[in-house]
Every structure is written in structure tokens, then in C-alpha cells.
């Protein structure tokens, strides 16, 4: 081939390659810009929804304070709850560091929770107290302040200079310090509004009293970590244990504990970890990980093994309630059963392996928080009177007295009615003092156990 032709072919090849590369490059960067736009649209949507819902919270609460009837108050507070829920969800989708807006998140969750609790109270005919009125007034003010803060932020978001990517890149920075990017200042200002946010105590699962409930079941004297080793060894037949090793002392939690690892002589028994309470040396939780073999035990045998274990740690008068078979183990829930009353707050879970019947798990937080000697209050209404309160569609199969936990750390005395209707099984709880229906649960059963929702 002539030298010049080769040269031309070479040149053309390079040009074609360059053009293709350029074309693909442009196309790829257009795709990237497209994706970026979609993400930014999603952030903008969530931001503007947040702004709208926060304004709704404010107006619902304000209206609820001036309306004439408790029923209408309840309805308006329900609106505030719904708006707060939606605002929460919108906020959680923004790329703002969790810690920077944790106080706003807390406010949105609590305002909804308070609204729900007070709404229910109003529906049940109980009027608001002075304190509750003040709480609502405070919350309305915070909703207003948040709204004002967001208004300022919205000016920046809609200014044309806003870039959500700058917010994404700011993640991990401490509040105030390096927040020079546009938009971070707005977020800091909103945060400052919540610096004086009060502690709220009310009947709801997110009330501030929930994180500092007293652990009623933690009794006894403070033990040392060496004594704890003996406590742990005592949980198993002496022949099984090779060593119990102290791991840590845990003081920064509600229930102070000692952590240990458990080493067994037989490798097949697995390896375990356990926390026991510093006061009294009670087991708090235990997890033993092992390979399970072929299933040999049936449900009743497993329940018996669990009861034997509970007796060995000083927990008596327990009745199995629910169970769940997962892999080669079964996890059984036990509740206190005293004087014919099932006490659900005093609940423990025992995990038993279905090949050898070994105890491979224990979970006792609920029992440690709630178990006390209770003075059984006599019911104001009889079982028969309570039965009348149950929906007539329910074909009742059994009934019993019980104590159930509320979502906010208290207990209620109830009658439990189990029955069938609409192709489903239900548990209905009627308060034995007030006759009001406390709760309805659906019972779901399959070959692996029962679940209530």
C-alpha cells in the first residue's frame, strides 16, 4: 500500500474514534444530567410537601383550640396528626443529615402523637386539662416557628442558585461549624428554633417519659463482675461449660449490665453471649449461635424445656402464649399466669433448638421492666357484662382475664375474648373497669407458629 494511503486510513480511523467517543461522551453526560434532574425533582417535591404539611399542622391545631365540641376537636387533632405524619415522611426523604434535623423530626413525630392522644381523649368524652391546653399552645407556636423558618429557606430553594447536591455534600459536618454552603445556614436557623423545645409527657408511645421508665423487675443487690461469672455458669450444667469470659461493664443504659461470652466444651453446643443486670444478676438477654440439626422435638416438648429453663432462673408461674419456628429453632413467648390472670407485660422469650432441646436464646427486657407483685384490682364489670360489649359478629371461642400493656408504659386490666369472624381469628380486649374496648388483634396462624397484628 502506498505510504500516503496508509496515513490517510490511519487519520480517518482516529477521527472516527474521536467522533464516536465524543458522541457517546455527550450522550452519557446528558443521561447523567437527566438522572440528576430527576433526583432534584424528587427532593424539591418532598421539600414543598413538607412546607405545605407543616402549615396544615399549624392551622389544624389552631382550629382545634377554638372549636365548640369535643368531637370536632378530636377530628381536627386527627387532621394535625395526619399532616404531621406526612410531613415526617417528606422530611425523611431530604438529603439533610439526620442529626441536623433530629429536633424537627422529633417535633413532627411528637406533635402527631400528642394530637392523636388528645383526640382519643376527646372522643372518650374526657375534656382537656389546663396543662394539656398549654401543651397544645406550645406545639402550635413551634409549628408556627418551623413554618417561618421554612419560609426563609423556601426563598433560597426557589432562588435559582439552590443546589441540592451541596446539601448532599455537606453530610457529616457538625452543626454550625462548616455550614457555609448556601442552604445550610437556613437549616441551622431552623435548628436553633428548637433549642428550647420542651420535654413532653403524655399518653403516647413517643412521649419523653418512655425513655426513662423505671425497671420494676430489676431487684436485688449490686453484684460484681466476678460474681456475675458464677451467675452465668449456673445457667448451664457444669459439664457443658468450658469458660465464661467477662467482656464489658455497660453503665450508659437504662438497665446497667455486665456482658460475657460463654464458651462450651462441645463445639456443637455453639458459642454464646449474655448480658446480666448489675443489680441482682438477672439474665437480660442471651444469644447462642449454633448449627441446628434435624428436628426431633415437638411443640410441647419445646415448651417444657423453656419452662424448665425459666424455673432455673427464678421465673415461675409462666404460661406459653405465642411461638414462632424459624430455621431449626422455636422462639416461645411466655407470660405470667397468676390467680387465673394472664399478665402480658411480664413477658419473656425463650429460644429452643428443635434438634437437641438446647436453650439458644433468652430475651427478658419486658419482664425486667414490668414484673412486680401486683395487687390484683377487682373488676368493676363482670365477664358476662364485658361479653355484651363485644361486637355481635364475633363467635367467641374462649375468654379469660388478663393485664395488657399500653403503648405508653402503663397497664390495663381487661377481659380477653378469642373468637372467629370474617374468615379470621381475633382477640378482643375489653377494659374490666370502664367496659371500653381497649384493643383488637388479628391472629395469624400457620405451620410455623402464631403472630398477632
Amino acid at each position: 500500500m502506498k505510504r500516503r494511503t496508509k496515513k490517510i486510513i490511519g487519520l480517518i480511523t482516529v477521527c472516527i474514534a474521536a467522533i464516536c467517543l465524543l458522541t457517546y461522551g455527550i450522550s452519557a453526560s446528558q443521561k447523567a444530567a437527566d438522572y440528576r434532574r430527576k433526583i432534584d425533582n424528587s427532593y424539591n417535591r418532598n421539600y414543598f410537601e413538607l412546607v405545605g404539611y407543616v402549615q396544615n399542622i399549624e392551622s389544624y391545631i389552631l382550629k382545634s383550640r377554638i372549636t365548640a365540641s369535643p368531637e370536632k376537636t378530636a377530628k381536627l387533632l386527627e387532621g394535625a396528626w395526619r399532616s404531621a405524619s406526612l410531613a415526617s415522611t417528606a422530611l425523611s426523604q431530604l438529603p439533610i443529615d439526620q442529626d441536623l434535623l433530629s429536633s424537627v423530626s422529633k417535633f413532627l413525630v411528637q406533635v402527631g402523637d400528642v394530637a392523636n392522644a388528645l383526640g382519643t381523649q376527646n372522643i372518650n368524652g374526657k375534656p382537656m386539662t389546663e396543662e394539656q391546653n398549654k401543651m397544645v399552645a406550645d406545639l402550635q407556636q413551634y409549628a408556627k416557628d418551623l413554618s417561618t423558618g421554612l419560609d426563609e429557606m423556601t426563598k433560597n430553594v426557589t432562588s435559582g442558585n439552590w443546589r441540592w447536591i451541596n446539601i448532599e455534600r455537606s453530610s457529616g459536618k457538625v452543626i454550625g461549624e462548616e455550614a457555609k454552603e448556601a442552604g445550610m445556614q437556613d437549616i441551622n436557623t431552623i435548628n436553633k428554633t428548637f433549642e428550647k423545645y420542651p420535654t413532653l409527657i403524655y399518653d403516647g408511645p413517643f412521649s419523653d417519659h418512655m425513655s426513662s421508665l423505671e425497671a420494676k423487675g430489676v431487684t436485688g443487690e449490686q453484684i460484681t463482675q466476678e460474681q456475675g461469672v458464677d451467675n452465668v455458669k449456673a445457667l448451664f450444667p457444669e459439664s457443658e461449660i468450658s469458660e465464661v469470659v467477662f467482656v464489658s461493664q455497660n453503665d450508659n443504659v437504662n438497665i446497667k449490665t455486665f456482658s460475657y461470652t460463654i464458651k462450651f466444651k462441645d463445639q456443637e453446643r455453639g458459642e454464646g453471649s449474655i448480658d446480666i443486670t448489675q443489680q441482682g444478676g438477672h439474665p437480660y438477654w442471651m444469644i447462642i449461635n449454633r448449627e441446628e440439626g434435624e428436628k426431633k422435638l415437638d411443640g410441647d416438648q419445646a415448651k417444657e424445656e423453656g419452662l424448665k429453663y425459666l424455673a432455673s432462673i427464678g421465673i415461675t408461674d409462666m404460661k406459653p402464649s405465642y411461638y414462632l419456628i424459624e430455621g431449626g429453632d422455636v422462639t416461645i413467648n411466655y407470660s405470667s399466669f397468676i390467680n387465673g390472670i394472664v399478665i402480658y407485660p411480664d413477658m419473656v422469650k425463650v429460644k429452643i433448638s428443635l434438634d437437641k432441646g438446647y436453650i439458644v436464646g433468652y430475651e427478658g427486657k419486658s419482664y425486667l421492666m414490668n414484673h412486680t407483685d401486683r395487687v390484683i384490682i377487682e373488676p368493676k364489670i363482670t365477664m358476662e357484662e364485658a361479653r355484651e360489649k363485644v361486637n355481635k359478629n364475633l363467635q367467641i371461642t374462649s375468654s379469660e382475664r388478663a393485664i395488657i400493656p399500653t403503648e405508653f408504659g402503663t397497664e390495663e386490666y381487661v377481659y380477653e375474648f378469642r373468637g372467629n369472624s370474617f374468615d379470621s381469628e381475633f382477640l378482643i380486649y375489653i377494659n374490666s373497669n370502664t367496659g371500653l374496648e381497649e384493643d383488637v388483634l388479628i391472629v395469624i396462624q400457620d405451620e410455623n407458629g402464631t403472630l398477632t397484628v
Binding site: 490511519g10 482516529v14 464516536c20 415526617s88 425523611s92 438529603p95 450508659n252 430475651e363
Partner: protein
């Protein structure tokens, strides 16, 4: 090396580069419907794969503790997918499906059944790699495996 050979090599490199730069990442498998248990197991796998069993249950427990805390989203999916919360979500490991007999799924089951080796913690980090001043300001409760666990 003569000019022709050099040109051809450059052209070949350009073609290869072009394909590499512009091929889109294939959609990850397993992103179809995920129950909460499966989602939790995937998060545990993404975040604590090299950890012992206890460390895996602990990560699951932190996620569930966040669901119950007012400062975080109120659903498991909300907590897991909160922007910036978990690296396993940012880098796509969340999409690896977990088999029924996997350790991560077993750990997720224990966490869902209420087993909490952390005693209520809401945060965890690897002290060997974390540099954020914010995370280090949290109150540490205990260390499990290579993670510090903190409550507030």
C-alpha cells in the same frame, strides 16, 4: 514503533474506552418486592457482613430501635433508606438478596423477635475508620466486634 501501528493502538484504546464509559450499570437483581425481614437481613449483610453473629443482631437491633425513636423515620424501610444513613444503601449492597438459611436472615429474625444486644442503642460506627466529630460525640454503651454502639 511506526506511526501506523501507534495510530491503530490509539484507535483501539479509544473504542474500548468509549464502551466502558458509556455502558450503564445493569439493574441489580433482587430488587423486586422485599418484606421487612428480607430488607432488614440485607441491611445487616451490607453493614455487618464480616462481623460475628452478635454484631449482626446488634446492627438489626439498632435499625429497629430507630423505628421506635421519634428522631428517626417510623418504618423499617424509612430508617434504612434515610438518605446518608447507611453506606450499604449508598453503594447498592442493600440489593443483594439474602437466602433463607443465611446468617444475616437468622440475625434479622432474632432482631425482629426483640433480641437487642445493644440495650437500646441508636448509633454504631467503626472506631478505626470513622472521623466525623459528630458521631464521636455520642454516648458509647459498648463495643461489639469492630463497632462502637451508642445511645444518644
Amino acid at each position: 514503533m511506526n506511526v501506523k501501528l501507534r495510530t491503530i493502538i490509539i484507535a483501539l484504546v479509544a473504542f474500548v474506552a468509549m464502551f466502558l464509559l458509556t455502558s450503564e450499570a445493569a439493574p441489580t437483581k433482587g430488587s423486586s418486592t422485599t418484606s421487612n425481614l428480607q430488607l432488614l437481613a440485607r441491611a445487616i449483610n451490607g453493614e455487618a457482613r464480616g462481623e460475628g453473629y452478635l454484631g449482626q443482631v446488634a446492627v438489626g437491633a439498632v435499625i429497629l430501635n430507630r423505628v421506635k425513636d421519634s428522631k428517626f423515620p417510623k418504618t423499617i424501610a424509612g430508617v434504612i433508606y434515610q438518605p446518608g444513613a447507611f453506606t450499604a444503601v449508598a453503594d447498592g449492597q442493600i440489593n443483594v438478596p439474602m437466602a433463607a438459611n443465611s446468617t444475616a436472615l437468622k440475625a434479622a429474625q432474632d432482631a425482629m423477635n426483640g433480641f437487642d444486644p445493644t440495650g437500646g442503642c441508636l448509633f454504631y460506627w467503626n472506631p478505626a475508620t470513622a472521623t466525623s466529630k459528630w458521631i464521636w460525640s455520642k454516648t458509647i454503651v459498648k463495643k461489639i466486634g469492630k463497632h462502637n454502639f451508642a445511645i444518644k
